[in-house]
């Protein structure tokens, strides 16, 4: 009886089946090793691609490039060292050559302004493009501007729109304003006041004064929105208060006052209350 039971558990030819079993588990271990190296290779590729597209700037391994960028910034701001744009440009350049997008953007700005280097729009466009291709919004906006004015590149509103849009999607207020203007004036694509108002509003909500003034104007003319003097007053008021360029303050104030003249006293009180609460929320 006992023998019959044993036979059920033990294979008939023990030795060969143990060898077979060992080969099989060895074969599985082999698969696991290969799969692990496959996955590691894949994730390394993915990481590189992400770093290249600037999606994960935090993951950048270029510690040196980062340190060189910091050094350039110290010279640029005169922090801990004497202010020296030529030195700043030197360190930005070293960092930028290694692909660090922050330094590429700063170098683009330096070339644009002729700071620490000879002024050169073509160089500015080159460095901004490198950072912009890594997804850095400031450079995307700057490159859009270069296309808009045709500096260092052939003038091209559509290219300007493309780069503005990339930066605008990342929440860059000047780019949102620029995109609004392209729609408003029908540059690069068909004139579209609704789109213009939409992008002006995005920048205006972020407190960008030029866009606030344009949004006010849109409400006066009723282009892309329905005519609304309360709204117009609301945005002109904020624009006048927030404008940093001195010569633009007076026109904003004039626009604000002429909008106010169209409102009844109770309308005016209502909109002023809304202004206070907007300011409280956007402090």
């Amino acid at each position: 009886m006992a023998d019959e039971h044993e036979l059920l558990i033990l294979p008939t030819s023990l030795d060969s089946s143990i060898i077979l079993w060992e080969t099989r588990s060895g074969l599985i271990a082999r698969g696991r090793r290969d799969a692990a190296s496959l996955l590691a290779r894949e994730s390394a590729h993915k990481l590189l691609a992400e770093v290249g597209s600037g999606k994960t700037p935090g993951l950048i391994q270029l510690e040196d490039a980062r340190a060189q960028y910091e050094r350039g910034r110290s010279y640029s701001r005169g922090e801990g060292v004497a202010k020296d744009y030529a030195q700043a440009a030197f360190w930005y350049r070293r960092s930028a050559d290694q692909g660090y997008f922050g330094a590429q953007c700063m170098l683009g700005i330096f070339y644009n302004d002729g700071r620490g280097v000879a002024q050169d729009y073509a160089q500015a466009a080159l460095w901004h493009r490198r950072a912009a291709n890594q997804g850095f919004e400031t450079s995307q906006f700057c490159l859009g501007c270069l296309y808009y004015y045709g500096r260092g590149v052939t003038q091209d509103y559509l290219q300007a729109a493309i780069w503005y849009r990339k930066a605008a999607d990342q929440g860059n207020a000047p780019a949102q304003h620029g995109l609004g203007s392209l729609y408003y004036h029908g540059r690069g694509f068909k004139q579209d006041f609704t789109q213009a108002a939409l992008w002006y509003r995005k920048a205006a909500e972020q407190g960008y004064a030029s866009a606030q003034a344009m949004l006010g104007a849109v409400y006066v003319t009723g282009k892309g929105v329905s005519e609304d003097y309360s709204e117009a007053y609301f945005w002109f008021y904020l624009a006048a208060e927030r404008e940093t360029e001195a010569d633009k303050v007076a026109p904003h104030q004039k626009a604000r006052d002429s909008a106010a003249a169209m409102l009844t006293p109770s309308q005016l009180t209502g909109v002023q209350e809304r202004i206070y609460s907007w300011k409280a929320m956007h402090r």
Partner: protein, 260 residues
Amino acid sequence: MAFEIVRKLTPEEEELLRKREELASVRGALAERELELADFRAQLKSFEGRYLRQVGVLYAELDDWEAKIAELEASLRPSATASQQAQETRKRADETHEATHGEASKARDFQPSADLRSLFREAAKRIHPDFAKDEADRERRTRLMAQVNEAYSQGDADALQQILDEFGNSPESVQGEGIGAELVRIIRQIHQAKKNIAAIEQELSKLRASEIARLNQDAQAAQQEGRDLLTELAADVRERVADARKKHETLAVELKKHGR
């Protein structure tokens, strides 16, 4: 006024009732664990089959090419080490071939139906050797339980039903057994079943640590990311097979020139 006469149970009888209930619940728990073990084993077996069919055969092919390469190299540059190398690679290739084309590669996908699972539960509860009355009964149950496991892994509900019918409802208590003796037997069975649950637990963790279970886990993790690990692995090995084949061709050409 209605009267109801209730006979008060003796302390032994009360204890026996309690123990019978405990035994029933332990039986349920044991059957559940047995089912889990059977499911896991079958799952790994079918995954192993898939792995051997999809990737293993490619390893066999790769090893075969490498053996051929070693053999060519041995005839191009004859030496004791070269011929030993050739023999060893050939042996490995044969082993890989045997392992990948063996019984294990035929394991099919395992998707037990709810019916099959409840049949298994029922069988494990009734037939488990832990609940044998005596040694002869134990042997019979052990044999039947092995059949139950086999039928389950084959997904054979008819066979399971047949085993259950055959086993029937053998009486639980032993004739002429007094309360004291029954109590002792049940306590022993509960103890045995608990030990068995712990053993299954150990067996499960041993299985989880095995290469195939870990590969299975990796594949499941990859699947979560929308990837198919075995397919990717197969593609990788296929590339290596192509490389080996090219290397073999080059060597064959060289050998021809050398021969002239």
